[in-house]
Amino acid sequence: MTAASLMSRPAFGLRLPRRAVRPLGRFMANRGAVVGALILLCFILAALLAPWIAPHDPLKANFMAVRQAPSLVYWLGTDELGRDLFSRLLWGARSSLLAGAVSVAIALAIGVPLGLAAGYFGGMLDALISRVVEALLSCPFLVLAIALGAFLGPSLMNAMIAIGLSAMPIFVRLTRGQVMAIRHEDYLEGARAIGLPDRWIILRYVLPNVLSPIVVQAALTIASAILAEASLSFLGLGQQPPTPSWGSMLNTAKNFMEQAPWMSIAPGVAIYLTVLSFNLVGDGLRDALDPKG
């Protein structure tokens, strides 16, 4: 880098708002991202407020009202056991959003430290971690998920663990790559020159500076995790009855695609919108956090 190229970056004014505000501003300027965030907010609220806003008990079967089409009583219709789909949809938001969030949390919790270690220390450790990640990557997701689901017993938590584990390699790779990219940055060398211990440098210097692509990837992974939960439900490995999740609702609904199409429409649209929103938000984050704009 030369003087000129460096200085041609915009000079930041002291009276300009802080950088923290700027990405937010850029994010808010992105219409798609804002719409996505609003939809998500609605779903999150729905999930949180489900006990209060759900018109019916999501678990209460009504054998007199099996598979009824949407009506004034049952806004979105009822399912194969006569349970209110709208209420189940609200409650299902809990499992599905949780599935997304927790799996990504698991992936992050394992992937990021491994990636940090591999990228920062390099050498044998890096080789070892990279090989393991490669091996994990070549082990098909569903094998892992089925095996884990079978091993731990099918449940939402275990589906989340499986999804998290299989999403983990991406984060290792991403983090490692980012760390490699900044490993020789002067501020790290400066930190070493002061004599700061590696642990501290990784935590205070490396991590914050590799975080933004990770955040973006996390948003996108949440979306795929929600879909993955639906897939696992299809194989009977996701959220277990009678607790609703969108995936399991859709899975049951597929047996009644013709007799009761409304059963699949509600969870289908919910999944679609959520995944779409997470993707939109992820996109927005990426653009907002990318200094190159």
């Binding site: 030369t2 003087a3 000129a4 190229s5 041609s8 000079a11």
Partner: protein, 328 residues
């Protein structure tokens, strides 16, 4: 003197959403065979000026000009197709970063030949021959072999030579060189500068040389425009600028260059920094850093006044020794 090749009056550039013009009323002329240097600190709008002339600014950028006459044609009023025909043909550019300005995926021969084929309609074979002769012309050793080399196989100096070859391939009448040597080592910088000088003498091409290094200016320029924050603060023949700098900014700039002679006293400094676009005042943009500034400087935009033959300065307080010396 013949009619200038390019005559620019009152160029203004504003980026969408920006609070002030990045280039604000820039005027200059370049004649065939001459070298005009544009000097100024980083961020003062030098590159933006060159991109505006080339028509390469991002879409949506607001560019206005009172007059931009290039070989008798209104440069900024041409439509996109006409400008495309001009670019790389009559009007060529050399960029600052030789390491990133060449496409890593194609051989240098191809990258030179491409422009030749585009503008001269030569066959690939002839274009390749032309590329070879261009490489020889910019004194790339082993040119025939290097023709099929990829950029990454060349050193920075070599790459900059290739960039020059690309620019010269269609015998342009004007070359805009945006800091062509900044990224290079001193020894390589010297090579490139002397190459450019020699080629220019050969072909009679006019050149706008953008730089922040006064040494480079001293070395090759005929005329100089000193820019500060998007405006011209001083312009004139190179001798006049070096021997008779009038604007306080020019004086400060020259004084802050350490000399190669025996060690002297402390360097002069210009305190403060370039105002950001948000802070650009309508009045003299240097006023906030100028040790000579008076209230009048903050009241109006100082006009460019002729202080010598062809030598202009935009300062209310020139000549300094008269105005400032008196009240010092």
């Amino acid at each position: 003197m013949t009619a200038p090749l390019l005559s620019l009056q009152d160029l203004r550039v504003r980026f969408p959403g920006a609070p002030a013009n990045v280039v604000d009323g820039l005027s200059f002329e370049v004649s065939a065979g001459r070298t005009l240097a544009i000097v100024g600190e980083s961020g003062c709008g030098k590159s933006v000026t060159s991109l505006a002339l080339m028509g390469l600014l991002p879409a949506g950028t607001d560019v206005s000009v009172a007059r931009a006459d290039f070989q008798g044609r209104p440069l900024l009023e041409l439509d996109e197709a006409e400008r495309r025909d001009l670019r790389g043909n009559r009007l060529a550019m050399i960029f600052q970063e030789p390491m990133t300005s060449l496409n890593p995926a194609f051989t240098v021969g191809e990258q030179i030949a491409e422009g030749v084929m585009r503008h001269q309609g030569l066959s690939p074979r002839l274009a390749r021959e032309r590329a070879l002769s261009m490489l020889e012309k910019v004194r790339v050793p082993d040119a025939a072999k290097r023709l099929d080399a990829y950029p990454h196989q060349l050193s920075g100096g070599m790459r900059q030579r290739v960039m020059i070859a690309i620019a010269l391939a269609n015998d342009p009448s004007l070359i805009i060189a945006d800091e062509p040597t900044t990224a290079l080592d001193v020894t390589i910088q010297a090579q490139i500068l002397s190459l450019i000088a020699a080629l220019q003498a050969d072909t009679g091409t006019a050149m706008i040389l953008i730089t922040h290094d006064l040494g480079v200016v001293a070395e090759v320029a005929d005329d100089v425009v000193v820019m500060y924050a998007g405006r011209v603060v001083e312009s004139g023949p190179v001798q006049a600028i070096f021997d008779d700098p009038q604007h306080p900014y020019t004086v400060g700039l020259m004084g802050s260059m350490p000399s190669m002679g025996a060690r002297e006293a402390r360097l002069a400094t210009i305190e403060g920094r370039v105002p950001t676009p948000a802070e650009m005042p309508e009045y003299c943009r240097f006023a906030s850093r100028c040790p000579f500034a008076v209230d009048a400087c903050r009241a109006q935009r100082p006009p460019l006044v002729e202080v010598g033959p062809g030598h202009f300065a935009a300062c209310l307080r020139v000549p300094l020794e008269v105005h400032a010396g008196a009240c010092a």
